[in-house]
Assembly symmetry: C2
Homo-oligomer: 483 residues x 2
C-alpha cells in the first residue's frame, strides 16, 4: 500500500459516514479542536486564518454600506433579556449564567450574551434623540454563547464567533430595506467569496428569530444533502424599540419608535465551506478565502539537487510574495506526504518543482479539485497563477451549483415528499399554505423543516394546493433536513 493510500485511508468515506468524514477533516486539517470545556471549541491558526479572510471580505462590504464597528459588553442583566417576551422564551434554555464575581454573589445574575439585541437596545435608547441621529448602523465582531446539548465543531458549539449587525431606522420601510440589503451582502459574500450557491428568502413563522417581525436567510445545500442556514437578517420592527424605549423626535415634532434590524454570520459558515467543497482527500478551500492559495513542494532525491531546487523555490517565493498567498513546505517530510497533507488542508494550487523543472525553467501546477496538472514556465507563472485561482474559484461554485440543482426536487405529492426526504435528501420544493401547525406536523413526520420561502416565486403567484393541508397554496417553500 502506498503512503498516499495509507494517509487517505485514515479518513472516513464521505458516502459511508459524512459526519465522521467532517469531524476528521476538521481535526486533520488543523482547523479546530474540541476545548476542555463541554461544547466549546479552539479555532486553530489555520482555521482562524480562514476566518480572518472571511472577516476582512465581509467587513469591507459592511463598511461600504456605512456600517461602523463597535463593542458591547459580554454580560447581559437578566432583567434586560426579560423585556422582550418572545426573545427570552427563545433563548432561556441555552443561557449560561454568571452568578459570582469578585468573590461575591451577584444580586442579579448576568447572562453571557447569546446575541446582543437587548443590551444594544438599551444603548440606542440613550444615543438616539432625533431623526438626525438615524439611521444608526453598527456591527460588532464578537463571541457569543448558547449552551447547546449536542455540539459539532463550527456547526454548533456552546461558544462561537460571529458578527452581529444592529441598525435603527426612522421607518419600518427603511428597516425592511436594510434587512434585505444585508441579506444581499451575505448572498454576495457566500457566492462570490465562499463559492457557495445559496437560496435567499424568508423564514417561516416557526423558524424566525425570537423577537423578530420577519427573518430572512440564505440557505446552502451540504454534500450530504442536508441544508445549512448560512446567515440571517432580521427585521425586528418595533419589538425591541418598544421593549427598550428606543424613540426619536421626528421632523414633524412627534416622538416615534425606531424600527430596528439585526443580522449575523458566524464561524458556522466555515462548516459550510468544508461540507460544500470537501472531497475524499479532505478540504478544498475557495481561493479567495484560502489562508494559502498556493503551496510549493520542492522535490529532489540526490543531495546535489537539493540546493538547486531550493534556490529556485526561493526565487519563486520572492516572485509571488504579495501577489498570491504562498506556503513553501520545506519540511523534512517526503513529497508524497506533503501532497497528501496540503490536499487534506485544501490548498487550491500545488506547485511541484524538481531538478528537471529547474533546468527547463518550469513548474508543475496541480489543481486541488481534480489533480489535473499543467506545466507552466516560471516566467509565465506570475500571470498564470491568479488566473488559475480564479478558474478554480468559479469551478468550485459551478460544481456546487450543479450539485444543488441535481439535489433539488419538486413534488406535489406528500408521500413522494416523505420518500425523497428519507432516501435522497436535498432540497424539496413544494406548494405550501403557510401554517405553523402543519409545518410542525411535517417536521415530526419527516424531520424536514421549511428552510426558506425563496424570493424566487412563480410569476403571477402560486396556483394549486398545499402539499400537506390541501388548502390553497400561498407560496412555494423549500423543505430539507437541516444542520
Amino acid at each position: 500500500m502506498s503512503e498516499k493510500e495509507k494517509f487517505v485511508e485514515d479518513i472516513a468515506d464521505q458516502e459511508d459516514d459524512f459526519s465522521a468524514w467532517y469531524n476528521q477533516v476538521v481535526r486533520k486539517a488543523e482547523l479546530a479542536d474540541y476545548a476542555p470545556v463541554r461544547g466549546c471549541m479552539i479555532i486553530r491558526p489555520y482555521g482562524y486564518a480562514l476566518w480572518e479572510n472571511m472577516q476582512a471580505r465581509l467587513d469591507q462590504r459592511f463598511k461600504e454600506t456605512d456600517v461602523m464597528n463597535a463593542y458591547f459588553p459580554l454580560l447581559i442583566p437578566r432583567s434586560f433579556l426579560e423585556k422582550e417576551a418572545e426573545h427570552v422564551e427563545g433563548f432561556a434554555p441555552e443561557l449560561a449564567w454568571v452568578t459570582r464575581g469578585g468573590g461575591e454573589e451577584l444580586e442579579e445574575p448576568l447572562a453571557i450574551r447569546p446575541t446582543s439585541e437587548t443590551i444594544i437596545g438599551h444603548s440606542y435608547a440613550k444615543w438616539i434623540q432625533s431623526y438626525r441621529d438615524l439611521p444608526l448602523l453598527i456591527n460588532q465582531w464578537n463571541n457569543v454563547m448558547r449552551w447547546e446539548k449536542r455540539t459539532t465543531l463550527f456547526l454548533r458549539t456552546a461558544e462561537f464567533l460571529w458578527q452581529e449587525g444592529h441598525t435603527a431606522h426612522r421607518t419600518l420601510e427603511e428597516a425592511e430595506e436594510r434587512t434585505l440589503m444585508m441579506l444581499e451582502v451575505y448572498r454576495d459574500f457566500a457566492e462570490n467569496e465562499a463559492a457557495i450557491p445559496v437560496i435567499a428568502g424568508r423564514k417561516s413563522e416557526n423558524e424566525k428569530f425570537a423577537g423578530a417581525l420577519r427573518t430572512y436567510s440564505i440557505e446552502a445545500l451540504m454534500g450530504d444533502g442536508k441544508a445549512l442556514q448560512s446567515a440571517t437578517s432580521h427585521n425586528l420592527g418595533h419589538n425591541f424599540a418598544k421593549g427598550f424605549d428606543v424613540q426619536f423626535l421626528d421632523s414633524d415634532g412627534e416622538r416615534k419608535y425606531c424600527a430596528t434590524t439585526s443580522w449575523g454570520l458566524s464561524t458556522r459558515m466555515i462548516g459550510g465551506i468544508i461540507m460544500v467543497h470537501g472531497d475524499k482527500s479532505g478540504l478544498i478551500l475557495p481561493p479567495r478565502l484560502a489562508p494559502y492559495q498556493v503551496v510549493i513542494v520542492p522535490i529532489w532525491r540526490k543531495d546535489q539537487d537539493r540546493s538547486t531546487v531550493f534556490e529556485a523555490v526561493e526565487r519563486l517565493r520572492k516572485m509571488l510574495k504579495g501577489k498570491v498567498r504562498v506556503k513553501v513546505d520545506d519540511s523534512d517530510n517526503t513529497p508524497g506526504w506533503k501532497f497528501n497533507e496540503w490536499e487534506m488542508r485544501g490548498v487550491p494550487v500545488r506547485l511541484e518543482i524538481g531538478p528537471r523543472d529547474v533546468q527547463n525553467n518550469n513548474v508543475v501546477l496541480v489543481n486541488r479539485m481534480d489533480r489535473s496538472k499543467e506545466v507552466v514556465s516560471i516566467d509565465a507563472l506570475e500571470a498564470r497563477l491568479p488566473e488559475k485561482l480564479e478558474e478554480i474559484q468559479k469551478a468550485l461554485f459551478q460544481r456546487a451549483l450543479d450539485y444543488r440543482e441535481q439535489n433539488t426536487h419538486y413534488t406535489e405529492d406528500y408521500e413522494e415528499f416523505k420518500q425523497i426526504i428519507a432516501e435522497k435528501r436535498g432540497f424539496v420544493r413544494v406548494k405550501w399554505a403557510e401554517d405553523s401547525a402543519a409545518e410542525q406536523a411535517v417536521k415530526e413526520e419527516t424531520k424536514a423543516t421549511i428552510r426558506v420561502i425563496p424570493f424566487d416565486q412563480p410569476e403571477g403567484g402560486v396556483q394549486g394546493k398545499c402539499i400537506y393541508t390541501g388548502k390553497p397554496a400561498t407560496c412555494e417553500a423549500i423543505f430539507a433536513r437541516a444542520y
Copy 2:
C-alpha cells in the same frame, strides 16, 4: 460668551481635575460609554475605529515575526486555574464565575478568562510532541474579564479587549529572546504609531505577572504625572509548562519541558493616547491611528455660495479618497460648532473651505496641535497632507518626550523622593537594592511603586546606596504613582 467658549467650558480643566477632564473627553468624543453592567464599557464606533487601526498596525507586526492568530475558549475550568499556584492566587479575587448553563447547575464552575495561559497550556500539551513542533507562536484578539472594584473607561474595566500572545520554545534562552522581541514590538508600536515615548525594562518581583519568571513592560507618563503600564511581556519559564505538562521530545531523545512566554496590549492603551496627547479642547489623535486624519468643514453664509462650496468639497473628497482618511462634516451645525466638535474628537487636521477659498483654489489647513493655519493650494494638497500628517505625528511624539523629560526626576534622598512624588509626581529615578519588603514599604508611605527597572542602566553598573535601605544598590529603578 461665544459658542466656542461655551462648548469648551463644558469640560473640566486638565490642571484642576485631570480625571474629570479624562472622563468628559472619553464621553464627549464618543469613544466609550459605561455599560449597564457594573464596571463594563461600551466601545462606541469612533473609539472602536481607533482600536481597529491599532489592531491592524500591531497585528501586522506580530505576523512579521511569524505569529499566527487563533481563538481559545472564553471559559476556564476552575481546576485549570489551580494548576499554577501563584497564578490562581493573583487572579482569584477578580474572577467572574459561570455556575449555571443550559438550565442546570454546573458540576465545576467555569471562570471567564482573566487571561488564557492555563487553557492554552492545556492545548499546547496536546499539540506539541517533538522539537520540530517548536517554536509555537500564537496570538489571540479577544475579551477578558477582571472584576475590578474601581473602574475607569479604558484604563480599568471589568471586561476589556486585548491581544494575548502565547509562545512555546525549546529553550529558556529562546523564550527570553521572544519575550524581549515582543516588548520591542510594543515599544516600536507605542512610539511610532501612538506617538507615546515609553521606557522599556523589567518589572520588580512585586509587580510581575502572577506565575511569570520575569515580566517586562513599557511605561509611559501621562499628562497628570502618573505612569501607565502600556504593555507587558512575560517570560513564563517552565512554570506553566510544568503545570500543564507541556513537554517535547528533543533531538537528543530526551523529553523536556517547553519554555513559554505571554505578552499583551489592551484597550487600556487608548486611555494612554488620550492622557498623553489630549489638551483643554479635548482629544488629539496621532495621525497614524486616527479614524479620521482630516475633517473637511465647508463654510458659507449665502445660499448661493452653498453649492459652490459643496461642489469643491466633493472634489476634495474624491481627490483624497484612499490617500488619507477623510471625514466631511456636511451637517447643519455651524462652522464654529464643527470646529469645536472635531477638535474635541482629536482629528489632527482640519480643512476649512469657503467661497473665497474656492475662488482662489485654496483651502485653509488647521493643525489640531496648536491651531496654526496654513493656506494650501488645492493642487498641492494631495502632496502636502501626508507630509503634514507626518509632521504632526513627529511633533506629538516630541512634545510628549519633552514633557516626560521635564517630569523625570533623579534623587538620592528619600525625603526629597517623597516630596517629589507628593508634589510634582512624574517619574523618579533612584538607586535601588532589589528588595520586595522595601518596595512594599515605599508603596505604603508614598503610593509610588517601581514602574520599571529600565534596560538603560549606567555603564559599568550602579554605584552607591539604595535610596531606601541604604544597602549597595543593584540597579536604578523608576518609581511613580500609577494608573
